[in-house]
């Protein structure tokens, strides 16, 4: 898989000999993110990424746990408002993620754990949108005391599983050698 991506990048019609990944990595913005000693460069992007993760995974996990029966006193209808916050947190991560990717584009494009993480994040966000649409937007939001439909519980379980997988893959992005050792 990494060879495929590297070959795609190297042979891509989008880039010159150096490939578009190298072009991104040597851009002024990416260079600043990566090499500036300022707290507002790489370290700020890392912090924003962790903060965004905490809020999008945390808030959606709280809602998912509620759908699975934790703290059943929490009414579901007004919980819908928190999706806006989850999406905002996701965009914080999308933007900080672009900055972090740009700083190390060439090596990240080769990093299987990173690519797997992106896939799980996409699935988790799709799952979140489905959750909002079918459980919270349609008139079918369970009112106080009403049982949570099985479909909603299934989406809640997949929410937790997908974010969990994204966190695992995200952390393992930093350990390509370890992954090679055990799964290479």
């Amino acid at each position: 898989m990494p060879e495929l991506i590297a070959n795609l990048a190297a042979g891509s019609s989008l880039g010159a000999e150096a490939g578009w990944l190298d072009a991104v990595e040597s851009s002024a913005f990416a260079t600043w993110v990566r090499e500036s000693p300022s707290l507002f460069a790489y370290t700020a992007m890392l912090s924003l990424h962790a903060i965004g993760l905490a809020f999008v995974v945390g808030l959606s996990s709280a809602v998912a746990l509620r759908l699975l029966g934790v703290a059943p006193e929490i009414p579901l209808v007004p919980a819908r408002k928190f999706f806006a916050l989850m999406y905002a947190a996701f965009w914080v991560n999308a933007l900080s993620g672009i900055a972090l990717f740009a700083a190390s584009a060439a090596s990240l494009a080769d990093n299987v754990a990173f690519l797997v993480k992106l896939a799980f994040v996409v699935l988790a966000i799709v799952n979140l949108r489905l959750l909002k649409r079918f459980v919270f937007d349609d008139a079918g939001t369970p009112r106080d005391g009403e049982p949570v439909p099985v479909a909603a519980k299934a989406l809640a379980v997949s929410c937790l599983a997908l974010w969990g997988a994204a966190i695992v893959a995200g952390r393992l992005t930093a350990y390509p050698n370890l992954l090679n050792k055990y799964f290479g």
């Binding site: 707290l39 370290t43 962790a50 905490a54 995974v57 945390g58 934790v70 952390r171 055990y182």
Partner: protein
């Protein structure tokens, strides 16, 4: 601080971490998951107390807090693995790290904040505000401080490995 470092080093965690190279990344994964659970529950309550999401009763949201506490416990345990098992420089490397020290200080402040919330009865008045109610200003101050403290914990946690950048920014 030397005695604390010696105590932590004496646990032998560093030998275990060095012997099994998958322990550190697995602990990091749990550390991030615990962080998400903590922010997702405590943050949920704080945001509601500050006035967003009216319709949700504060008292009901507080039923999520034990999960946040569980996240905190997971992070304390994995955190101890990191500090006691640090393969480069031992426990002292963490104890001397300014970002780590500030992170611990913010956790302490967050803990004091929670104690004030419950021991002064402000929690009871906030819960009594009702689903659409506005919490008293004191509760909002505590909730706001809580968010600032915990986001600060995340920021300084990230800076532990970039302590030099922090020191540089502070002119130290």
């Amino acid at each position: 601080m030397d005695t604390l470092a010696a105590l932590l080093d004496a646990t032998g965690m560093a030998e275990i971490v060095n012997a099994y190279d998958w322990i550190w990344p697995i602990c990091e994964i749990f550390h991030f998951a615990g962080m998400a659970l903590l922010i997702g529950t405590i943050g949920f309550v704080d945001i509601r107390i500050l006035g967003f999401g009216k319709g949700l009763p504060i008292g009901a949201l507080e039923r999520l807090l034990p999960i946040g506490v569980a996240g905190f416990v997971v992070n304390t345990v994995t955190g101890l693995v990191f500090v006691a098992g640090n393969p480069v420089g031992g426990a002292m490397a963490y104890l001397e790290n300014l970002a780590f020290q500030l992170k611990m200080l913010l956790i302490l402040l967050a803990g004091i904040n929670v104690a004030v919330f419950y021991l002064t009865g402000i929690a009871r008045t906030a819960a009594a505000a009702g689903p659409a109610g506005d919490a008293v200003p004191a509760a909002k101050a505590i909730a706001g401080a809580s968010l600032v403290f915990w986001v600060g914990v995340i920021v300084f946690g990230r800076l532990i490995m970039y302590n030099d950048t922090l020191l540089y920014a502070l002119g130290l």
